[in-house]
Amino acid sequence: MHNEDLHLENRKYVLGGIAVLVILVYILRLFSLQLMSEDFKKNADSNAFLRRIQYPARGSISDRNGTLLVYNQPSYDIMIVMNEAKNLDTLDLCQSLGITREWFDKRIEEISDRNKNPGFSRYTQQIFMSQLSAEEFSSFQEKMFRFPGFYIQKRSIRQYANDHAAHILGDVGEVGPADIEADDYYQSGDYIGKLGVERSYETQLRGVKGTEILLRDARGRIKGRYQNGKLDQAPVPGKNLTLSIDIELQALGERLMKGKLGSIVAIEPSTGEVLCMVSSPTYDPHLMVGRQRGKNNRTLMLDPMKPLLNRAISGRYPPGSTFKTSQALTFLQEGIISPTGTSYPCSHGFHFGRLTVGCHGHAAPLPLIPAIATSCNGYFCWGLYHMMSNRAKYQNVQEAMTRWKDYMVSMGFGYQLGIDLPGENRGMIPNAAYYDRAYKGSWNGVTIISISIGQGEVCLTPLQIANLGATIANRGYYITPHVVKQVQGEEIDTLYTKKHYTMVSPSNYEYVVEGMRKAVLGGTCTAANTSMYEVCGKTGTAQNKGHDHSVFMGFAPREKPKIAIAVYVENGGFGAVYGVPIGALMMEQYINGKLSEASEAKAESFENRHISYGTSIR
């Protein structure tokens, strides 16, 4: 028996061994859980930490004189916490919000559907209605105590001080999948600039989002800030933009272009700053804000007159006779013509074999300056013909053409100028290869003669035409046109300060300036003449399938020019009909800061002169 007891005493080692084994296994398990894997930590963090985005205020936009154009306005989202929205008087709620019972039921169903709303939780705020105006909100706020589980979340939407410059300002809308794909800054529901400077200056305007790290419990309820907000990042507000646009000038331009298709672009030649950029028809930017944005956007998109299209930079037009200035400069620089010694005949046009390019009646033959002033087609056709067939200078027509193209490109044609707006068209300047393809290598100066007068294959944007004006005003260079004068706290991009010199020397420009001056004094643009300052101008009457387009390009004053302008009125007829008077009014407005009484009356008459367009075209 004693032996038996001793034998049993050894069992303490078995029991002790069991205890040691259990604890050892548990410590090994702890080791594998706590030290072998980071997954648990990540899991716990994603459980507990809710990174809530704090949205910065978007930068405001004002015009060159400091007039506020775009700012933020508070809007209100109505949020619902399903779990708290009990014993709800649905009828009362619907009446207070001006919604129907059906809409309410449908909305609740949408919110609760995890397929459509993956972040749904019964315990957290979900958007019930978005972007209520201050008035709608204040009337609801008074009654809100009656609706448990309903909350208000303040957001901000864009607001416009007036209804001008929609194309330049652009708009903001919710990001699409492509935006999120392209830049991981964005999350679903964020806003992004869609058009205009809102888009091109998106990164500056949007600022930097902040985050606050909140603690979230198992039911999704917020339980305070992680480490009392030590790791939170405050949002950085967006930068304010100052546009180079003069909103008064812009407003006048939009007035004058009422009922007409086309564009007005004005540039300050010395800086490349765009003073106004009218594209007609335009639209009211207020339409692109708030809950009606989607609907309004669709309506505008379906409009046959394409009001959303910014014709000033996206429309490509034959420049017509305004283009002759560039030809004169090229021929002068290449020595094809001499400023006073060369005269070309013109008997109601350019005749070569069976080809005729018509011209209006004027004295002939003419030297350069009167040729510009009277816009003689014959002169420039002969000029191009002589350039293309000058075998002393160029081995073949291709080489001559390439040379010609280089001049055109140096004047800012054929490629995007690089304006700080989305959607710029590059226009069209043909080159030798193009004609080789088109005419299978068999072509000469005569074949392509119409490009000399801004017809044929040549196409420019109104911006490029205005930029041509600026180049002439500057006697040989341009600065890339831009609509943003300054971004708050930033230096202006060197892209918009660098001078681009053309291939033509300044002395040759003086002849063209003189020609344009003569056109105002006694040529095609006499309507632009004024005693207040010296205007230089050039009309254009661009042929197209329908009625001719009315074009004007000019600048003023002749010395130290303040404004270079292009006016393009689709199907407006002769340049002198719409282009010249509209251009004259615009220059007067900008240089004098206002219109004289007579000019005001004139402006009113132009405002009311509408051109009838069919509904099928464009």
């Binding site: 303490k12 029991l15 069991i18 604890i23 296994v25 410590i27 030290l35 930590k41 716990a44 963090d45």
Partner: protein
């Protein structure tokens, strides 16, 4: 004078090592309750009596007073009154379901004033005292079946009463008395049978529907269990009988037939080889009965009984799983065995508990910095799942220290029990350490995802007065009995 000396004697011979471990566990436990009940929202005072952590200070304080009271009572009182205490608690346990309010399906809490008390927590020490008294007083020897049955009945009676209160977790704790039975002479094969039963259950259920290699008609679970029965049986023959030839026959033929059947099924005609195994089982059983008659050895008969019982147990578990258990009980077992992945359902608690512990890393997130527990991702965070807070806030270092402290406590209690002069003290000591070991084993194991989710508290850590007082009572009565060992020797 004599009384003063006696009291001084108690303080001198009191086991201070245990006291230090006890106080350390209480302190760590209180920190964990602070962490688990702390609310980021109302970052209130952790000492406020409005908070769980503040109330836990009350429970700790009263436990210390309770401990001091126990030490000041003569140790013979516990032995003397053990029957009365036991019977009183049996009556209380019997009455509890009639007096209790339903709390989450459990009928075990009696409301006294503004507090609720759980008698089941206190019945453990009463049962331990009574079993110790009966075994020591009547000189029971637990290798005798009759004595073992008497002892087992004393344990199973309160257990059944607690099951009737629908507190299955607390009832299972009474299985820990079998550790004491083992120490006092219960055959080791009983413990082995218990382990074998768990093996049959886990492997059988877990791999029931998994095919063996590329044989779709063979259940891997059945195959392994039958293989296990053959292995256990032949090993028992090796250990419990002296003749080696029958062992070699059973071991060899079992291995041979299984291998041949497997190869035939694999390369010739696929068929369910568990039928061959079952056939072998029948032959093995017959052979053992034959041996027991031929050699007149009762051991062969017991081994045959073990084999038969194993097969019966295995097939009945499958039957119980499929036909007896309710859907939610079945799901719970399936999730526990890793057969179902159900992060929002039955497995949610266990997954969140592991995330909490795993996120603690080496050094933990620091006191009151745990997010999993405070933001209520872990259920029952300050009671049954309190170890999550230790893991999350104190990390691998802290939780290992806690586990090692528990191990030290248990080993120290073995030491204390073994040094008792009287059998009563030793038996009581083994009951206490068994209960502690069982609680730590199940509670920590459940949080670590190693044992089933059974709602029992972690001693000195889980929030609540009843469990803390219950454990203090258990421990300090042992310490009081132990402190008297010198005087007993003197007498």
């Amino acid at each position: 004078m004599a009384k003063v000396n006696e009291n001084k004697g108690i303080l001198v011979s009191l086991d201070w090592v245990t006291i230090i471990i006890y106080v350390a566990l209480l302190a760590l436990g209180w920190m964990s309750v602070c962490g688990a009940s702390y609310d980021f929202d109302q970052a209130g005072n952790i000492f406020s009596f409005d908070s769980r952590s503040g109330m836990q200070i009350v429970w700790i304080g009263t436990s210390l007073i309770l401990g001091a009271l126990i030490l000041s009572v003569d140790e013979r009182v516990y032995e003397t009154f053990s029957y009365i205490i036991y019977i009183a608690f049996l009556i209380l346990l019997f009455l509890t379901p009639f007096l209790a309010r339903d709390i989450k399906g459990s009928m075990s809490w009696i409301k006294i004033g503004s507090f609720s008390v759980q008698p089941a927590e206190f019945a453990k020490f009463a049962t331990a005292l009574c079993v110790a008294r009966v075994i020591s007083a009547f000189e029971l020897h637990l290798y005798k079946n009759k004595d073992l049955i008497i002892s087992a009945l004393l344990v199973l009676t309160p257990m059944v009463l607690i099951v009737l209160q629908r507190e299955t977790g607390s009832a299972l704790v009474y299985f820990s008395f079998f550790l004491m039975f083992y120490r006092e002479g219960m055959p080791g094969s009983f413990l082995f049978v218990g382990v074998a039963a768990v093996f049959y259950f886990v492997v059988g259920v877990r791999y029931q529907d998994v095919p063996l290699l590329n044989l779709p008609e063979v259940s891997l679970g059945t195959f392994c269990v039958l293989l296990g029965i053959w292995f256990f049986t032949s090993m028992m023959m090796r250990v419990y009988t002296s003749a080696s030839k029958p062992f070699l026959i059973v071991f060899g033929t079992g291995f041979g037939t299984t291998l041949v059947a497997f190869l035939f099924s694999e390369f010739v005609i696929p068929f369910d080889i568990t039928w061959v195994q079952l056939g072998f089982m029948v032959m093995m059983f017959s052979y053992l009965i034959y041996l027991s008659i031929k050699d007149r050895l009762i051991s062969y008969f017991y081994i045959a009984l073990f084999a038969l019982g194993s097969i019966g147990f295995f097939f009945s578990t499958n039957y119980v799983m499929d036909h007896v258990l309710k859907e939610h009980q079945r799901t719970r077992i399936e999730v526990l065995l890793g057969m179902k992945d159900d992060p929002r359902g039955a497995g949610y608690n266990v997954i969140q508990a592991q995330i909490a512990i795993g996120s603690g890393g080496l050094k933990g997130k620091g006191f009151l910095n745990g997010t999993q527990t405070k933001l209520k991702y872990v259920p029952e965070q300050d009671t049954d799942f309190i170890f999550c807070t230790v893991g999350e806030e104190e990390g691998f270092v802290g939780s290992s220290i806690v586990l090692i402290l528990f191990l030290c406590l248990i080993l120290r209690l073995i030491h204390i029990s073994e040094r008792q002069v009287y059998r009563f003290g030793r038996i009581y000591g083994y009951c206490v350490l068994g209960i502690f070991l069982f609680h730590v084993f199940i509670n920590v194991g459940m949080v670590l995802g190693l044992t089933p989710v059974i709602g029992i508290p972690l001693p000195f850590f889980s929030y609540g007065g009843s469990s803390l007082w219950g454990f203090t009572l258990l421990l300090f009565i042992l310490l009081r009995i132990d402190a008297a060992r010198n005087r007993m020797k003197r007498n």
